[in-house]
């Protein structure tokens, strides 16, 4: 069954505006359109993240102008910048404090793979520590590239079986 929204065929003048859909599709739609970022802005990519959040490129169109610096209130962690070994465990700690459902965007070359810094001090990619959903290449990536990464994450979220996967025990219990 696809997790896409569908409109039922009925007379809206009689019954008002109701949509028949799956719970997964509805939840995914709500989640993908209100992704509150936790901006882990560590280096130069943070400047491009700020530029994406400002008026010209406007990440608010995607529901993401609410940059929550508290991980408890955030959905997606955008790791923007070089992750040094000194900072790495702090990033992991912040990631652990984010409640499910959570996603991670590795923005830029340094967060994806260590970038140009093949050295004793730089973690070679944040995916050594946390699971990354979208990698965005660039040094720094253009704001359009960050928005494209955001939209990719939205497509990924739309395709998730969120209720089925997260509430498996509940569904099994209900089925009995």
């Amino acid at each position: 069954m696809s997790t896409e929204l569908t409109h039922a065929a009925y007379d809206s003048k009689i019954e008002g505006n109701i949509i028949f859909t799956q719970l997964d599709a509805a939840m995914n739609w709500m989640r993908k359109n209100s992704l509150w970022p936790m901006p882990m802005g560590l280096a130069c990519c943070a400047i491009e993240l700020m530029a994406t959040a400002s008026s010209r490129f406007d990440i608010a169109r995607f529901g993401a102008e609410v940059m929550r610096f508290s991980p408890r209130q955030a959905d997606v962690m955008i790791v923007a910048g070089t992750v040094t070994y000194k900072m790495a465990l702090a990033v992991k700690r912040i990631w652990d404090q984010m409640p499910e459902p959570k996603w991670c965007i590795a923005m830029g070359a340094c967060a994806s793979s260590g970038g140009m810094y093949r050295s004793y001090a730089v973690l070679q990619g944040i995916d050594h520590l946390i699971p990354v959903d979208v990698y965005i290449s660039g040094c720094p990536p253009r704001p359009e590239a960050l928005i494209e990464g955001f939209m990719r994450l939205q497509r990924k979220i739309q395709g998730e079986q969120s209720f089925l996967a997260q509430k498996k025990e509940l569904i099994d219990a209900l089925a009995e």
Partner: protein, 190 residues
Amino acid sequence: MTAAETALALQEKFPGAVLSITEFRGESSLMLTMASLIPVMTYCQGELAFDLLIDISSVDNMGGDPRYVVVYELYSLTTKNHLRIKVSVSEDDLNVPTVSQLWPTADWHEREIYDMMGIRFTGHPDLRRILMWEGYPYHPLRKDFPMGGLPSDMPDVAFSETAPLAGGPFVTSSGAMDRVSAEPRAKGEK
């Protein structure tokens, strides 16, 4: 006084302190003995009015003796003169007296030299690592430390792994004959 005149004046005022004076394109560098470092620096900061310590850096002459050189870059805002003072540090005695009582900026510069080279500064108010974390076991900018790093682990504090260099650091070869052969290439390839 120009920089060259300053250098000669220092040599006269502190006999035996100045081991050598080098001049290159208008810049003067003095090599001092370790014992005379603080008296000469105090005189420079006081009477000669070198009120800005621009930088302190260190050099690792791997294989040379003494192994390390600490280089102080001084500038006078009033007379607009630069001066460079060097002092050799041998591997047996990695101690240099601190100049942070003369220029407060030396505090962090000396912490960085301690962190990266392992040279200790006696009398420093707070000598601890500044770039790497406390407890990191190596001094990374020594020439015998590999650029990709070495593995280390301090649980709950930090860890480090060796970075894959995939053919070597892609830097320009020094001492190459022409620009084509000096291009960055994977080391070991022909």
